[in-house]
């Protein structure tokens, strides 16, 4: 990724776009509190696709230890921020 670091707001915006694409829901509302329970299409398989899409967009790879602890989108944004923020 480039030298410009991203704010949490920008990261949340990008992740929202990705989630809308991966879960095929154009109007999906995403906040830091959103979790898999809130999104019907968010199962273990689409979760893998979500991770792949985020990694491709931001240009880094997660470690398993980073993914296992995630409970909601806010945790995801924070983890991404440590990589590109």
């Amino acid at each position: 990724m480039g030298a410009v670091s991203l704010s949490r707001d920008e990261i949340l915006r990008e992740i929202t776009e990705i989630m809308r694409d991966v879960f095929d829901e154009d109007d999906l509302q995403v906040s830091p509190e959103t979790s898999a329970e809130d999104v019907e299409e968010w199962d273990s398989l689409s979760h893998v696709r979500l991770i792949v899409a985020i990694e491709r967009k931001f240009g880094f790879k997660f470690k398993n230890s980073e993914i296992e602890g995630l409970k909601n989108v806010g945790d995801l944004v924070n983890t991404v921020a440590t990589k590109v923020g």
């Binding site: 893998v48 696709r49 792949v52 990694e55 470690k63 993914i67 296992e68």
Partner: protein, 641 residues
């Protein structure tokens, strides 16, 4: 990078909108160009999410039986690890190979049980094909064996396990069993010595893959060389330990698109959809520069420059493809003489006049020329691949004739051969002597056509060909070519019934069926086996289940020779009539009147356009034909049971 499918254009901003429109039509009323638009939409570098959506469209299509132009295939996928992500990638990618695939997934880690249990969901699903995806880590090949004997036992056990899955499932699968090769481990154990030490995981996977190849060579299975794909994209990109540890994903999900395309194109090849002809642009594709402006001395070709060498490599690949049966043609915006001059006079040209079956150099638009090439070769537009360095020309052809495959090309000509080869347009699932000689046949055919124009009179022309038509039974020697014809013939094919090689073998052995293969030679050469007929030998009437012929020999009256044989064989067995059927498909309109022309009577017509025919044999007389017929299949016609 190959992992991004560089031969495909990007999906573009209208992708989701067009997909939604097609989805609505798939669930309602498809437009006239529905299939064409589906294939065009899928012919783009879709990512794993887009492929998942395309897969849903494929599923909607499979559920309908009124959409013509796509092969509908129920594909079982079973094997090792988490396979759930593979199905959507395969189904989405297969659409670009004209196959609407519905994947039935085996249960996690129960491949052997499901394959061998006759009551399992997989066995009862009515599968058309099955794919077995094995992983070295679950075949016991990821730990070293202590010596050569132990290694041999381990490899044999792994092979046996795959065999058990395939043979267990096979009776419940209508068509091909596809087996993936196993990806070797990236990590060295001994180092270079891994290759020499039979007990190393690397050597054991290699030995297993060789056994799978032997099995495929004997016709038992179709091989999908995933191990080679993994090597091409790089084992490091392919094997991501974190995904295996977390979810038993066999490979990095970022590579689902390139994997899906490999399987999709394998399915397309099994269904006879591999391309047959490579059409080449000239300027900046086969040489550097513009022949019309730069002249023979000015174009870059060959020794002396890196650019020249790159273009030679393109020619070399074209020649290699030709030697394995791909026909070459040229389509270029140029004065004809200028276009020909390098072929005739440039010392470094590898491609020469003789290698090109059809040469279109003029100022007409390329789409019109491509249509002319398809017509001259008597093949479908969907059998063509068009290689052109110019993005505007590529886009124009894609827009006007979506059926032609037009690979995207990178900026650097040094990568043209790799991009064309990696696209796999000419993927082979079998290879016969006839394939090797096919390019020559097309050239000979062109000569014959020229001869016809010279004589002007059809009868004397046919007689002058000195044709010998040899009719014989189908046997193990002719079986591969017969199976190939059965699976590749689309136009002169009355019922488009597909048989795997194994099913052909069963037909050979079935006393209630009469199967023949027909070979034609003439003054210009041997056309090889060009027609296949299978009939059910009923007591009163023989019912023709399969009648197909290569379009290469249209207009030679071969079908009349075949009819004469069928009539004689049926009479010999005591039958009184021949029954035939025309089942319309997207491509076989040319034979809609085949039985009418042969003198059969129409018996009934179905709502889908199919027609049943009958020919009473009691008063039918064979005509005189302008060929010698050698019939070796009459003596072996079985009396009816």
């Amino acid at each position: 990078m190959l992992r991004d499918l560089p031969w495909l254009p990007p999906t573009g901003p209208a992708f989701r909108e067009e997909l939604r429109a097609l989805q609505a039509e798939a669930q309602g009323t498809p437009a006239a160009n529905f299939v064409q638009r589906v294939i065009a939409l899928a012919t783009a570098a879709a990512d794993e999410t887009q492929l998942t959506r395309l897969a849903k469209l494929a599923r909607d299509i499979v559920c309908r039986d009124d959409i013509v132009g796509l092969d509908r295939i129920k594909l079982g996928v079973l094997g090792d690890g988490t396979l759930s992500l593979l199905g959507p990638a395969i189904a989405g990618s297969a659409l670009r190979h004209a196959a609407a695939v519905q994947v039935v997934e085996g249960d996690y880690s129960r491949a052997v049980q499901e394959a061998t249990d006759p009551e399992s969901a997989l066995r009862r699903a009515g599968l058309d094909m099955a794919l077995v995806a094995s992983d070295g880590r679950l075949l016991g090949l990821d730990r070293a064996a202590e010596d050569a004997d132990a290694a041999e036992a381990r490899v044999a056990a792994a092979f046996q396990r795959i065999r058990m899955i395939v043979e267990g499932l096979r009776p419940a699968v209508r068509g091909a069993m596809v087996v993936q090769t196993v990806v070797p481990p990236l990590e060295p154990l001994f180092g270079s010595f891994d290759r020499l030490e039979p007990g190393s995981p690397f050597a054991m996977v290699d030995a297993l893959n060789r056994r799978l190849a032997d099995w495929a060579r004997d016709g038992g299975v179709v091989l999908a060389d995933v191990a080679r794909l993994a090597a091409a994209v790089g084992y490091e990109a392919w094997d991501e330990p974190r995904h295996w540890h977390a979810s038993k994903l066999p490979f990095s999900p970022a590579l689902l698109p390139v994997y899906g395309d490999l399987i999709g194109r394998t399915i397309g090849a099994i269904m006879g959809r591999a391309r047959k002809c490579l059409v080449l642009d000239l300027d900046n594709t086969l040489w550097g520069g513009v022949i019309g402006d730069d002249g023979l001395a000015g174009i870059q070709l060959g020794q002396g420059s890196a650019a020249g060498e790159a273009f030679l490599a393109v020619q070399r690949l074209a020649l290699e493809l030709r030697s394995r049966g791909v026909v070459l043609a040229v389509c270029s915006k140029n004065e004809e003489d200028a276009a020909w001059s390098p072929f005739r006079e440039h010392p470094d040209m590898l491609l020469r006049e003789d290698h090109i079956a059809v040469f279109q150099a003029n100022w007409t638009d390329k789409a019109a020329n491509l249509r002319a090439i398809a017509q001259a070769l008597n093949i479908g537009l969907d059998a063509l691949v068009f290689l052109d360095d110019n993005p505007a020309e590529r886009a124009q052809v894609r827009r006007e004739i979506p059926a032609v495959a037009v690979p995207e090309l990178p900026d650097d000509p040094a990568l043209y051969p790799r991009t064309l080869a990696a696209a796999g347009y000419f993927e082979a699932v079998a290879f016969s002597k006839e394939d090797r000689e096919r390019a020559g046949y097309y050239q000979a055919n062109a000569k014959r056509a020229a001869s016809l124009q010279a004589t002007g009179d059809m009868d004397s022309y046919l007689a002058s060909l000195d044709m010998v038509c040899s009719i014989g039974p189908v046997d193990p020697v002719t079986r591969p070519r017969v199976a190939q014809l059965i699976n590749k013939s689309n136009q002169f094919n009355l019922t488009t019934r597909r048989y795997s090689e194994a099913e052909v073998a069963a037909v050979e052995a079935d006393p209630r069926r009469h199967a023949i293969q027909v070979r034609l030679t003439d003054a210009f050469g041997d056309n090889g086996i060009i027609s296949v007929v299978i009939a059910e030998t009923g007591h009163d009437a023989w019912e023709i289940d399969t009648w197909l012929m290569s379009c290469r020999v249209l207009g030679r009256r071969v079908e009349e020779a075949v009819l004469a044989h069928l009539a004689a064989a049926a009479r010999q067995a005591g039958a009184k009539a021949l029954v035939g059927r025309y089942a319309p498909s997207a491509k076989n309109r040319m034979v809609a009147e085949h039985y009418d022309k042969l003198g059969f009577e129409r018996v009934s017509e179905g709502p889908d356009g199919s027609v049943s025919y009958r020919l009473a044999l009691t008063r039918w007389v064979a005509p005189n034909l302008p060929m010698r017929v050698e019939d070796r299949a009459l003596a072996v016609a079985e009396p009816t049971a």
